[in-house]
Each structure stands twice: as structure tokens, then as C-alpha cells.
Amino acid sequence: MGSALDGGPRLPPDGVAETLLQFSVSGIVLGSMVALASLGLTLIWGIEGFPNIAQGDILTLAAYLTFTFSAGLGLPLGLAGVIAIGLTAVAVLAIYFLAFRPLKGAPLVTLFVASIGVALALRGVIGFVWGTELHNYPLTVSRDVSLGIVHINPVDLVVVLSATTLVAILYVFIYKTRIGTEMRAVADVPQLARVSGINSERVLQAAWLVAGAVTATAGVLLGAEIDVDPQLGWNLLLAMFAATTLGGVGSLPGAIIGAVVIGIAMDVSTVWISPTYKVAVAFLFLALVLLVRPRGLFAK
């Protein structure tokens, strides 16, 4: 099953318009997962100032945890996913304390290199614990639902709905709560935030926790779509970078729109080219954005 990263569409529809529409639907499914992951990426990029390379492996960790809690311990998939998200978020906070907090005040490139280290270490741990073979959630194969002219799998539907719900929750958190407002303030002008009495340490911890949770959700959902393997999140990293850059670094709505655009572009491109070149489509987008509007669509 699954069309998220490697596969083609599930049904071969007839006419060109239908084909494009069907591929766009699967693109939206892919885009919704990229959107969550990009939100985590752009949140940290905006506040800490560097793109966290470990983002992909955080996502992978959540997928593996979900697999263990559902297939291994027999918990219902939804519950397993929630536990995995919680555990991954805590793990991300721990990573912040171990790897990034000691580098406070260091050049950004140092933090960036540390994030490469975190990525490698995380992947090592994942590969050690779970091995390198493919795993699947215990999902029953379900028939596609027909929505007028396009078909959609119930799993896809759940994925898109969960992603949308989480984005709504995140929106309320960032724009309606006090800590969310402080987060935006720190991301905008850190010095100004500090003189306004904002405890930037607390904000940073909250940001890492939230970014971890959102990224983990992307991983849990992606694991429902395709096989879980140690490169799961790593393979999505370029799409995240492209989406974040397209949307404008630090912009949350930008990350979502960028991700959906990239997702649709990647899947629709498979009408004409082999699905293996999806990653090249993401790269092309990244290159185009950097050429035409490097600050992205919604840069501050």
C-alpha cells in the first residue's frame, strides 16, 4: 500500500483530469505529513536560527515507537500513536538539554553541526534497537472510499484529518496562549523579548517540546502510509526543507502551504516521470525558490 514516498497511485483512473485530480489527492495526503514535519522544522529554525537536520530521525523514532506499542504490545493503534508522540516529544526535550542547550551563544553553524551529530546518533539507536528491516503497523487493509470522481483510502482520510486537527491545535497554542505569544516574540527579536521580561529558556524548552510533538505526529502518520524503516524520516528531509523554504523560514502558515504545494507537485509529477524522481522534484522546487524568492512566500 501507500503512495506517500515511493509508490504510485492506488487506482488507475481514466481521463487526464481525473488522473491529475487523483494524484493531487494523494499529494495532499503526502503534503499534510510534510506540513507537520515542516512545522516542527520551521518552529526551531525560526527560534533557534538553524535547520535541525535531526528532524527526519525524530520522525522515524515516533514511527518505530508506534510500531512497538501497537504491533509489539498490542495496544490500539490510536493509543500507541499518542504514547509515541508523548515519548518522542520528551526525547526531543532531552536532546535539547544534552546537545543544544550547552551550545547557547555559540555560532549557529556549531548548533547545526551538532544537529548532524544528533541525527546520526538517533539513527544509530533506532537501527540498533529495531534493526534495519521494514516494519508495518497492524492495519487492516481497507477499501477505498469513492468521493465523487476521486477515490480515497480511509487511512489517508484519517491521516489528513489528524494532521488538520493538530494544525488547528497548534494554531490556538501559538496565537492564543501566552507561551505561544512569547514564542513568537523570541523568534522575532530575541533581545527585545528578553528585556520585556520573557523567560527565553522556558520558551525554548516549550518550543522544542512542541516541535518534537508535531514532528512525531508526522512520523506516526507516515508510518501508517508506508513501511517503517530507519531512513523513513531522512528521505522526507528534502521535502521538509523545500516546503519550509518555499513558505519562508519561521512562518507557520508558510510551512503548511509550502508543504501542500510540494506534496502535490511531488505526486502529480509521477504522472509524467518515474516516482523515484519525486525527490528531484522537491529539489527543483527548492532551487526555484532560492532563485526567485529566497526569503520564501511568507517571510517576515
Binding site: 548548533l111 548532524i116 551529530g117 546518533a121 526543507f241
Partner: protein
């Protein structure tokens, strides 16, 4: 055993060439090239494809060097006018695209790779050939070391380190830092291309999995350990990457408490932890570059 040591040194020296190239970019100019292995691959495939079509052996690696350097041009143009992180992202993406292209194209042999690549010093006896090959690579390493030393001891090199320390300061002095960074990116990548050419003609067989992204990170960790001096980078990469590659076969001796593939993961974990700790405790590596004036001019002769 001697054969094994020579082979290990041979690979180590090729990695040292890679380390020298990456160190010019990272250690001296502060460029983060996450797709360094792609330039290595471009050099290897260019050289292999050319010689398989009848080009003389000396032409292959030389063209590999030039092509890898030229490929770096659009990458740099795209990303270097922006902040540092963009080069990392673009080069990372570029490496993925190169990998996908190699795997899915017919002319690269796809996943099966290219076989029957002319070996270096083929006319010579199998007994002496490894020593000649090793000699050649060591000579190349020394030449690269010498040239890089000259380059970075010049005002140009001083400018590169100034760029690394503060791009804004360099720009405000009226220097176009983008062009200098672009040149560095191209020179370093060209060196990777040369290393790729030598590599292809040494083992005689190349396939996509030899150019996995982890190699970029191993080389990167090697130079970060070594420090920004050219010797530090070369020795750091040689020892570190050789250690990583040679421990691959430890599983064969059944002395490890874990399985082979688990040990590969332990090595990955180890590399990650080393990088994190280095960033916290010794960012400049073991042998940082120290600028020395050749003629001392009184009390100002410092680094």
C-alpha cells in the same frame, strides 16, 4: 596482512584527499557542504565512464576533477548569496538527486554500477601494483597539501578565514565574499572529484551504495576531529574514516557481543556522539590551523 594494510592506507589516503577538500570549505571558509560525497561520486563516474569509452587513464581523473568542480558552480551560485544553512540544504538535496540519478539511469549501470574499470598501473605485476598505486595517491596527497598550504598562507587564505569568522565584516571592507566562497566550494569539490577518479580506478568497480551520504558525515567528522590545519584534516580523516571502515570487518572475527548490522549502528551512534561532544568541548579540533608568517616582523607576528 601487508596487503590488507596497504589497502587500508590506500583508502585512507583517498579519504584524506576528501578531507583536504572539505576542510578548505568548512575549516577555512566555514561552508557546510552536506553533499560532499556527491562530488566524489561525480568524479568517480565521470572518470570511469570516460575510460570505459576508451579515454586514456590519465585523462579520466583529471576530467573528473574538472567536472566535479564545475558542478559545484550552480550549487554555490544558488545558495552562497544566502546565509550559511542554505548551502547545507542545497548540497544535501543535490547529493540525494545525484544518488537517485545514478541509481535510475542506464548509462551509470543503475544499482549494478560499473564494472571493469581500468585499474591504475595495470601493466605492472600484481605484486608491485598496490605499492605503486599507494605511492601515486600519497604523492597526490602531498601535492594537494602543498598547494593548499600555499593557498591558505596567502592573503587569499587569510580572506577565507575572515569570511569564516564574519562575512559581514569582509563584505563591509568591500570584498565580494560570495565569489571567494564560490571559488572555495569549487576547489574543494574538484579535489573530491579527483579523489573519486582515483577511487574508481583503484577498486575497478563502482556502484551507488559506495557513495552513501554517511560517507559525507564520516569525512566531515574526520576533519572536525583533525582541526582546520591541512595536516590535521588529512590525518584526522585518514585515521577516522579508516577506523570506521576497518571496524566493518570486526564482526567476522566473532569477538563482538552484538551482530554485524548492530555494530554498524553502534558506529553510527558513536560518530554522532563524537560530533556532539566536539561541538561542546573542542570545536577547533585537535590541530587547529595556525597562521604563520614566513618572515617574522617583530611583535605583531601572531596568528
Amino acid at each position: 596482512m601487508a596487503d590488507y594494510l596497504v589497502a587500508l592506507l590506500m583508502f585512507g589516503a583517498i579519504y584524506a584527499l576528501l578531507g583536504l577538500g572539505l576542510n578548505l570549505q568548512w575549516g577555512h571558509t566555514g561552508l557546510v557542504n552536506l553533499g560532499f560525497v556527491a562530488f566524489f561520486a561525480v568524479g568517480a563516474y565521470t572518470s570511469a565512464l570516460l575510460t570505459l569509452r576508451g579515454a586514456p587513464l590519465v585523462v579520466g581523473p583529471a576530467v573528473g576533477l574538472v567536472v566535479a568542480g564545475l558542478v559545484a558552480y550552480p550549487i554555490g551560485r544558488l545558495s552562497l548569496r544566502l546565509t550559511d544553512d542554505y548551502l547545507a540544504i542545497v548540497s544535501f538535496g543535490f547529493a540525494q538527486v545525484v544518488q537517485v540519478l545514478i541509481i535510475n539511469s542506464d548509462w551509470t549501470g543503475g544499482n549494478n554500477g560499473l564494472t571493469g574499470i581500468t585499474r591504475l598501473f595495470r601493466p605492472f605485476d600484481i605484486e608491485v601494483r598496490p605499492y605503486l598505486q599507494l605511492g601515486l595517491v600519497l604523492v597526490l596527497v602531498v601535492i594537494a597539501l602543498f598547494l593548499l598550504q600555499r593557498l591558505t598562507a596567502s592573503p587569499y587564505g587569510r580572506l577565507l578565514r575572515a569570511i569564516r569568522d564574519s562575512i559581514d565584516a569582509v563584505d563591509s571592507l568591500g570584498k565580494n565574499s560570495s565569489n571567494y566562497r564560490l571559488a572555495t566550494l569549487m576547489i574543494g569539490s574538484a579535489l573530491a572529484g579527483l579523489a573519486g577518479g582515483i577511487y574508481a580506478h583503484y577498486i575497478g568497480y563502482i556502484s551507488p551504495d559506495q557513495f552513501d551520504s554517511t560517507l559525507s558525515f564520516f569525512v566531515f567528522t574526520g576533519i572536525v576531529i583533525g582541526g582546520s590545519s591541512h595536516w590535521g584534516a588529512a590525518v584526522g580523516t585518514l585515521i577516522f574514516v579508516s577506523l570506521m571502515e576497518s571496524t566493518r570487518f570486526l564482526g567476522d572475527f566473532n569477538i563482538l557481543p552484538v551482530t554485524d548490522s548492530q555494530f554498524a549502528q553502534v558506529r553510527l551512534l558513536l560518530v554522532g556522539v563524537i560530533l556532539i561532544l566536539l561541538m561542546q568541548f573542542r570545536r577547533q579540533g585537535l590541530w587547529p590551523y595556525r597562521y604563520r608568517r614566513r618572515t617574522s616582523r617583530g611583535p605583531h607576528a601572531d596568528g
